[in-house]
């Protein structure tokens, strides 16, 4: 499996002509952050004051460093990772490369596990890349005052990154289900987008709310819908916008008093959610791969 990961890393990092998808998506992330940074720089500039007659104030949330990372990484990074994983896996089916590799291996499932692990490695690499860029842009984004209201220790920062990484990995693993089940590009990409854009938990919450009105027959299932919605990777990523204090501040109540969901401490739940969905998605992908012919 390590060999498979090495091979996949080799493929995504080919520099010549930017053949490797890591560079392609890396440039996209850089460009997106560049646009944001340019807008923030403009908003903090004298030109803006001259045009509008007032300053814009703090554009970037200065609660804590991890909240800043959440602002910068959430949305774009999980989407890029999910798309990279989908593209990487679909390409092998489209050109028949998977046949060449699988016929030379004595077991199919180890290959699939290798792909799942690669999704985790890729998530870590892209998060690292985006974090470095976000740090590089921090002085401009904070108008030259990179101070935050709350100071965070290394454990909070590590806890935050662990939660973010696991849930990003989980979203890309869920996208792999569509790849191996359908092998169809539009379905896989649209599905990946829906997973990362919180469509599923929003749909579940919608059903839960509707059970009190139009869909009254669903009312007994409302707590189930709410529970499922709170245990989704995209929900966990949204909750991580509260920053690293999520893991150690038991007074944070992000679910609301009216919530009927079964929940645990938000920080612990964020980590558990990632692990559960990585394992569950992995099991589904392995089951599908075992049954389907290549």
């Amino acid at each position: 499996m390590l060999n498979l990961i090495k091979s996949d890393l080799y493929r995504i990092t080919r520099p010549r002509g930017l053949r490797g998808s890591f560079w392609q998506y890396g440039i996209a992330i850089l460009a997106a952050y560049g646009i944001v940074m340019a807008l923030v720089a403009f908003a903090n500039s004298q030109m803006y004051v001259d045009m509008t007659g007032s300053t814009i104030g703090n554009v970037v949330t200065k609660t804590s460093l991890t909240v800043y990372f959440a602002d910068m990484l959430n949305g774009l990074v999980p989407l890029c990772v999910a798309f990279m994983v989908v593209e990487h896996s679909l390409a092998e089916f489209k050109c028949g490369y998977i046949k060449s590799v699988l016929s030379a291996r004595s077991g199919r499932l180890s290959y699939i596990v290798g792909k799942l692990l690669f999704a985790g490695v890729l998530s870590a690499l892209v998060i690292l890349f985006a974090t470095v860029v976000a740090l590089a842009f921090l002085p401009i984004m904070t108008a030259g005052h990179p101070e935050f209201a709350a100071s965070e220790g290394p454990v909070e920062v590590i806890g935050w990154f662990l939660g973010f990484w696991l849930n990003t990995w989980a979203l890309s693993a869920c996208s792999l289900i569509l790849v191996y089940a359908t092998r169809v590009s539009p379905v896989s990409y649209i599905g990946a987008f829906c997973f990362t854009a919180s469509v599923v938990p929003q749909m579940l919450m919608g059903l839960a709310y509707s059970s009190g009105g139009v869909l009254r027959f669903l009312e007994p299932l409302a707590p189930v819908f709410e529970t499922l919605a709170t245990w989704m990777p995209s929900t966990a990523l949204n909750n991580l916008s509260q920053g690293g204090q999520l893991f150690f501040n038991a007074s944070i109540d992000i679910w609301g008093e009216a919530s009927r969901a079964f929940t645990v401490d938000p920080g612990i739940q964020a980590v558990l959610t990632g692990i559960i969905w990585i394992v569950a998605a992995g099991a589904v992908v392995l089951f599908i791969s075992r049954k389907r012919d290549i």
Binding site: S7, S100, S103, R105, S106, G107, R108, L109, S110
Partner: protein, 342 residues
């Protein structure tokens, strides 16, 4: 040892049988030509051997093991299967160069010194000059050569090639043929080739299997093929059983078969000549088939009434086409069949 031992292998898609109780044996060191019409089941069979498709039923043993078809699909083993395959498409990534494609697979297989191996393979298939060009700019023949190189990355003991000559010019085809023969002779690689290009198969293959409608019609060696399809004499007599016994006694070196109309076809044991192009051919002049005069003389001496006497020049292609149509018109013939009077 049989590298491939298939018994009763079946693959069903709904009610349709892509492969229907197929029996097939490929011995170590064979270059096996797998022949059949489009849709006969060749690619499906090769996919099952390669572990890409799970059989519906039957037994499939590779390298003398009792592995079933379902085994590899459900296995977590990460080792080498000792198989290299080029099935349906070359399996190349179009946005990368030939070297990069080979490197990816070499890394995936855990090849020691992958760069060296990549260089060797590029040279073997004649793509060392392709340089950094993306594969999507390659011709079909170049892509096929790269696909072959990919199949060889893990130094397999069994090579499965599905239509490897597609899109290749004559020179490239000849070079590929020579490479395959060299691999077989020098490294003992067993090769299974499915192709419609009979001429190319006949130059390299040591054994053939003809499949029709998912079933194996016949397996035979190239010697048996040439014995069947060389020049032969066809004779029909009033007493075919007696005539056959006389001819067998007087022509012990010849082969005999009986047609549905009880005519006896007498062929020679063809002697093989080595052709300069690394394949094999028969020397018609040394076929050993008896002459029309000899047969006529023998039967006349034995007071047999000859109803029909002619020379047959059988076209190998016609023979294969006949078999691919399901072997229509062919009787399972042996002398004992006639002697038993059935």
């Amino acid at each position: 040892m049989n590298v491939i031992d298939i018994r009763g292998l079946t693959k069903r898609y709904g009610k349709a049988f892509a492969v229907d109780h197929l029996d097939m044996q490929v011995a170590q060191g064979d270059i096996y030509g797998f022949v059949g019409k489009n849709g006969a089941g060749k690619s499906t069979t090769m996919k099952m051997i390669a572990g890409l498709t799970t059989p519906t039923s039957g037994e499939l043993a590779l390298f003398g093991s009792g592995e079933t078809g379902a085994g590899r699909a459900g296995s977590f083993s990460g080792g080498s299967s000792r198989i290299g395959a080029l099935i349906e498409e070359p399996g190349v990534m179009p946005n990368f160069s030939a070297g990069e494609n080979l490197m990816m697979k070499a890394l995936a297989m855990g090849v020691v010194r992958p760069r060296e191996r990549v260089g060797e393979l590029l040279q073997l298939v004649g793509l060392e000059a392709a340089g950094a060009r993306k594969v999507k700019k390659f011709s079909q023949g170049m892509k096929q050569r790269l696909g072959l190189a990919l199949a060889l990355v893990g130094s397999p003991d069994l090579l499965l090639l599905d239509e490897p000559f597609n899109g290749m010019d004559p020179e490239t085809t000849r070079d590929l043929r020579r490479s395959l023969v060299r691999l077989n002779r020098e490294r003992g690689v067993t090769i299974v080739i499915s192709s419609h290009v009979l001429d190319q198969l006949m130059r390299v293959c040591t054994r053939f299997g003809v499949i029709a409608a998912g079933r194996m019609v016949r397996e035979f060696t190239d010697e048996e093929l040439h014995a069947t399809c060389g020049s032969s004499v066809r004779v029909r007599t009033a007493d075919p059983a007696r005539a056959l016994a006389i001819l067998e006694e007087r022509l012990p070196a010849s082969t005999f078969r009986v047609e549905p109309d009880q005519a006896i076809v007498i062929g020679g044991g063809a002697r093989r000549a080595t052709a300069a192009f690394g394949g094999a051919a028969t020397d018609p002049a040394a076929s050993g088939a008896p002459s029309v005069e000899d047969v006529s003389h023998i039967l006349h001496e034995a007071d047999q009434v000859v109803l029909e006497l002619s020379v047959l020049e059988r076209d190998i292609e016609d023979y294969f086409v006949e078999l691919m149509d399901g072997g229509a018109g062919q009787v399972a013939y042996t002398p004992s069949h006639m002697r038993a009077g059935r």
